[in-house]
Symmetry: C2
Subunit: 335 residues, 2 copies
DNA sequence: CTGAAAGCGCTAACAT
DNA sequence: ATGTTAGCGCTTTCAG
């Protein structure tokens, strides 16, 4: 391994001069810079990041921990965050937690350990008890659902409003027996996504004068298989369903598959709407109606909150929260 | 920031004892360990990764550089690689290159800089001139297309065979005017994916006695939009196309969308088959036929090649290559 | 504009 | 079973 020492010797200068060249410091004579750069090229030198971070106390890297990289929503999120982080001079690297509580806790621990300068955590399984871990000195922004009430830097979307918009849309198209897939009838105090979105759905139905039927609210894993299986059971048990609000687009894709396998047409027999508005939606057959949060605003808020923490601009103990607005994207699946 | 010194002082032991506890070394008395762990908890201590890597000369992290995280194939790949790397005690972090040559070069440079122990690079835009960068002391495995001929550790799939399988399948279903979307009629020496897959397509058509028509081979960006636009142009210009082989599943999804927009049915009017066999395929309407490489074998080969390099098991200058077998997954889109 | 010295936090090697 | 020493490669600080 080549070190700065080696380069300095080769170029006949001191290590400090090499360091100054590498870090684009201004006060280096052109001829010296040339000489050093030539030596760097000749020796194939690369800065050692470990030594640099140890010395500087920062890494220039932000971590993103998500449950599954292999899901369209997280792919989109990662892309936007990478772009936004780059604008603030940070690189972003992605870690997968597998939506398991222990792995999410690991990600927090490791991001200190690995010396990311901060962490964007999309938590799926953390609870109030764990929330204390998220406090303290290390910069963390929690994205999406919370599942706990403690104060934190936090970015989410208007879940209840989105579900209400989607439900109203289904009603306005003529659906009356509307199911909620990937929903949950929880305590009103619960603030997990499933409960929040189901809350919006209930409100919209009530406003439309449609009686609530708990049998129409079904749990579903947020995967293709989860959507397919839950929709299959639903349809087999309740024949007159004519609209399905899915908690995520991935669930909706699974649900549309189940409907097709049973010979039901979308939207003629059953209207389907998803949540998240991932790029894929517009290319499906039929194209999938969805609720679109302002993804860019979310990425923007998350990174700016984090950089404020990293730079120490905001006082510890003073937390920010951002709720992205949502809008309806009506497509063929609810025509 | 709390250091090992602080913990040692707090626990009334030496730093080495703290280090031994943290690293699960055996020769520590239980009572001592308890004491140290208590101090660690009390002070909220976390190991500093920069200092550790600087000292040990390794990080335990493998980088994965892909053009776009927001594409199903790379999501799948990342998931499998993460799992496989964990089995060898490595964490894997993902970086996005944007399929731009400069960013790919950056990823190489940075992965040395950031002291990953090795890099899995899915290169889309690197050429022979850059290949020298991939040599040298740093452990790199190139995944997928190469675009250059220099010796390297390299993992790919049987591209030509896959395209031939897909073409034969379309022929056996009754298609005769078969287009290749995302293809390229290159020099036979070219080894980019587009040319390789187009080669398999040509061979299969020739074997079936179907004359080659260069107008049926179309370039396409490997995105939903790319597939939709290229398929739209194709259909508008050549009305009697009855089969489309797409270079990737994402292109196929875009193509199916374009067909639907023109009132053409899949598979009744036009059969469509993709490449990569991403999990989404089985949930589409119609479900998408595809060519499935042995994804797990590819992940396995890539990580084992890399760990061999990292551990120095394999001699520098001695390169390995792995070609994953492919098989046909026939689904509704080619029924 | 360039250089010398000190030390970031940790662990390998060697005592005790 | 525990402690001491040295140094990984870099940059901050201060001198020249």
């Amino acid at each position: 391994m080549t070190t700065m020492q080696d380069v300095a010797r080769h170029a006949g200068v001191s290590v400090m001069t090499v360091s100054n060249v590498v870090n684009h410091h201004p006060h280096v004579r052109d001829s010296t810079r040339e000489k050093v750069l030539a030596s760097i090229a000749a020796l194939g030198y690369h800065v050692n990041a470990a030594a640099r971070s140890l010395r500087q106390g920062r890494t220039g890297v932000i971590g993103l921990a998500v449950p599954e990289v292999d899901r369209p929503y997280f792919g989109l999120l990662a892309t936007l965050l990478i772009e936004r982080a780059a604008r603030d001079g940070f690189e972003l690297v992605i870690e997968q937690t597998g939506a398991r509580r222990d792995r999410e806790l690991d990600a927090i621990t490791r991001s200190r350990l690995r010396s990311y300068d901060g962490l964007v955590l999309h938590a799926a399984e953390l609870h109030d008890d764990d929330a204390t871990l998220l406090r303290g000195d290390f910069p963390i922004v929690v994205l999406g659902e919370r599942g706990y009430t403690s104060p934190l830097d936090h970015v989410e979307m208007a879940n209840a409003k989105g579900a209400a918009l989607a439900s109203e849309h289904l009603v306005s198209r003529g659906s009356r027996r509307i199911a909620m897939l990937g929903g949950r009838v929880g305590d009103p105090d619960d603030i997990d996504v499933a409960t929040l979105r189901t809350g919006g759905y209930r409100e919209a139905l009530a406003a439309a004068g449609i009686p609530f039927d708990a049998a129409l609210v079904r749990a579903a894993a947020y995967t293709f298989e989860g959507g397919r299986d839950a929709a299959g059971l639903l349809i087999d048990e309740i024949a007159d369903v004519d609209g399905i609000l899915c908690a995520t687009d991935v669930v909706a894709i699974g649900a549309m598959r189940a409907l097709r396998e049973r010979g039901l047409r979308v939207p003629e027999d059953v209207r389907v709407i998803g949540f998240d508005d991932v790029p894929l939606d517009a290319f499906l057959t039929p194209s999938l109606s969805s609720i679109a949060p302002d993804h860019e605003a979310m990425a923007d808020a998350a990174i700016s909150m984090l950089t404020e923490r990293i730079s120490g601009t905001r006082a510890p103990g003073e937390y920010r929260s951002f709720v992205a607005d949502v809008r309806l994207m009506a497509r063929e699946s609810t025509a």
